[in-house]
């Protein structure tokens, strides 16, 4: 890896994520019911909540995979998926939204690697397709990122030849190739066999200490306690309480939080 590429990797600035009064509904079902959340640069935020509480939807609203009915999201002050026109918000064109997403990392529960591309091409695809790097540059970047997640020897493999834990680490490298200011994790270890969870959490922990802004939806309470700067507990599309893990996890003030924690711990 050349010095410039390494430098290029290092100069990514951690982003601020602001969610303003976001409402999202499907028909009459309210999934998100007025969410306000600010994630400071470099902060690691873990979102907890029972299934169906809207935590995945919140994550998907942040990179505009889901459009909120009311409210908006901004990253480093830039509105996501919409633009301001006078005192109204107008939806952005598809191309502009795709460009914005190119700066937001997203890691799926089911990895969603491209099965017909090699591991190296999976990681190198986005920088090449968006014209940010030439093919050789992107592949060099990809090799470096794969080494960082401990898969330097798997560059030529196809995703289905890897274990679940390895696939998820490739997916994290793929997200890192965007050089994102923030990475969103949607239950990154829920589809994994128990003995493979550790290797993925280790990679996320490495990212957490490197100062990238992370928003993580997970059920791993122990992991949340270990890496989170802040824990946000969501139920019924609303934030019930939030704070450092020592408060939310150890001395929850709310009945619903206590109830949830007693079930998952």
């Amino acid at each position: 890896m050349t010095a410039e590429t390494l430098e290029a990797l290092a100069d990514v600035e951690a982003a601020t994520v602001e969610v303003h009064d976001v409402h999202k509904w499907y028909g009459t079902h309210r999934v998100l019911d007025g969410i306000d959340l600010t994630v400071r640069p470099g902060e690691v935020t873990v979102i907890l909540g029972p299934s169906g509480s809207g935590k995945s939807t919140l994550l998907r609203v942040i990179n505009h995979l889901e459009k909120p009915e009311i409210g908006h999201v901004s990253i480093n002050g830039e509105l996501i998926g919409v633009k301001r026109q006078g005192d109204r918000l107008k939806e952005l064109g598809e191309r502009a939204i795709l460009t914005q997403r190119g700066r937001i990392g997203f890691v799926f529960q089911n990895f969603n690697l491209f099965p017909h591309l090699t591991v190296l091409d999976n990681v190198a695809a986005a920088p090449v397709a968006t014209g940010r790097l030439s093919r050789p540059e992107a592949q060099e970047l990809a090799r470096g990122l794969l080494a960082r997640v401990g898969l330097a020897d798997k560059t030529g493999a196809y995703p289905r030849q890897l274990s679940g834990g390895q696939q998820q680490r490739v997916a994290i490298a793929r997200a890192l190739a965007l050089r994102p200011g923030v990475i969103l994790f949607d239950e990154p270890t829920s589809a994994l066999d128990p003995e493979l969870v550790g290797e993925v959490l280790a990679v996320i922990k490495d990212l957490a200490t490197s100062g990238t802004t992370l928003v993580i939806v997970t059920h791993e309470i122990g992991f949340a306690r270990e890496i989170a700067d802040r824990v946000v507990f969501i139920d019924g599309g609303k934030i019930v309480e939030q704070g450092p893990p020592s408060e939310v996890l150890d001395k929850p003030r709310h009945e619903r939080t206590r109830d949830f924690l007693s079930k998952v711990l």
Binding site: N63, L65, E94, R95, L98, T99, Q100, R101, G102, R103, I104, F106, F108, N110, N112, L113, F114, P115, H116, L117, T118, A125, A126, A129, T130, Y158, P159, R160, Q161, R174, L178
Partner: protein
């Protein structure tokens, strides 16, 4: 079931012999004999032999005339026409099918409705009707113009010069082919996991790139077998162009057959063998194309016939060696 300690399991007494019986673990399992399968195989072999014998010895087929006709220039000219019409219609039909499938999957209700109606109409009208209709098209519309809709025309074509027999045949077959290809392509695109679309969108890949590099290559896995099916139908379907006075493989044989009525059967056999050759070539190509697009979908690629032959031979060799050793 659990055994209480101390309980003994009684095995049937082995027949006493001087030699101590081998321990069970060291013995090879004798494969089950299947006499029914052997009998069925024998019956089928006899039937096949009878059929081949009849094919070769029955004077009705006139194999001498068959070899006379098989490589005649008229037949080869017809074969060339068949190949040309098939190639043009296959490509145009597939392109049309992709466009129609994308229209059908688009968010615009007008595009969806137009695509649906096209497929509905062209699948309902018999191909022969489409061809004969197009053949008479120049009588309905004397000229074709290219210009602003309902406004002035920039180019004007004389229809009767534009619509040669070849063009009529290719246009007719392509129109028909596109309707079927549209459904094949649409099915292929729908078979791609939703997570792939999401991942491509989440990475911010440009829309065109998402389709060309992520979705379509994966869709091809299910498109190829269906489209080859379609293609084989098309190869045979080209025999209908005879009715718009284009002398394809079938057409030439048919014409020769009316000139030499005694040779109709060998001529039909010539046509049959040529169609068999064409579909066989397509099947071989299909195998390798499918294998190409199977990369990553399966943990290991299916072996080619040559590889199969090689492993088959080496298996046979080890088996013979083992049998000889026993």
């Amino acid at each position: 079931m659990s055994e209480s300690p101390g309980a003994t399991v009684t095995l049937p007494e082995a027949p006493t012999s001087d030699e101590p019986p081998k321990p069970l673990t060291a013995q090879r399992v004798v494969p089950l004999r299947r006499p029914g399968r052997w009998i069925a195989t024998a019956v089928v072999l006899v039937l096949v032999a009878q059929f081949v014998h009849g094919l070769v010895t029955n004077p009705f087929y006139q194999w001498a005339r068959w070899s006379y006709w098989f490589l005649r220039p008229t037949i080869l000219d017809g074969l060339l026409i068949t190949l040309e019409v098939t190639a043009f219609s296959a490509v145009l039909g597939l392109v049309g099918g992709i466009v129609l499938a994308l229209a059908r999957l688009s968010r615009s209700p007008v595009l969806r409705a137009v695509s649906w109606t096209y497929v509905w109409a062209l699948r309902s009208i018999p191909l022969i009707v489409v061809l004969i209709f197009l053949y008479n098209f120049s009588a309905l519309y004397k000229t074709l113009s290219l210009g602003i809709p309902f406004g002035p025309a920039f180019f004007t074509f004389d229809e009767s010069k534009l619509a040669t027999d070849m063009v009529v045949a290719v246009v007719g077959l392509s129109l028909n082919e596109a309707a079927y290809a549209a459904e094949v392509v649409r099915g292929g695109i729908l078979s791609v996991d939703q997570g792939q679309h999401e991942a491509a969108a989440a990475l911010g890949l440009p829309k065109g790139y998402q389709f060309r590099r992520i979705v379509f290559p994966q869709a091809l896995r299910s498109i190829i077998p269906n489209y080859v099916n379609q293609l084989i139908g098309l190869i045979k379907g080209t025999s209908l162009v005879f009715y718009v006075s284009l002398l394809d493989l079938f057409g030439s044989a048919q014409t020769m057959g009316s000139t030499y009525p005694g040779d109709i059967v060998p001529l039909l056999l010539v046509v049959t063998v040529w169609y068999l050759i064409l579909t066989s070539i397509v099947s071989v190509i299909q195998f390798y194309v499918e294998r190409h697009y199977a990369r990553g979908a399966t943990r290991s690629l299916p072996s080619t016939p040559l590889q199969k032959l090689r492993t088959g031979l080496s298996d046979l060799r080890t088996r013979i060696r083992r049998e000889a050793a026993v």
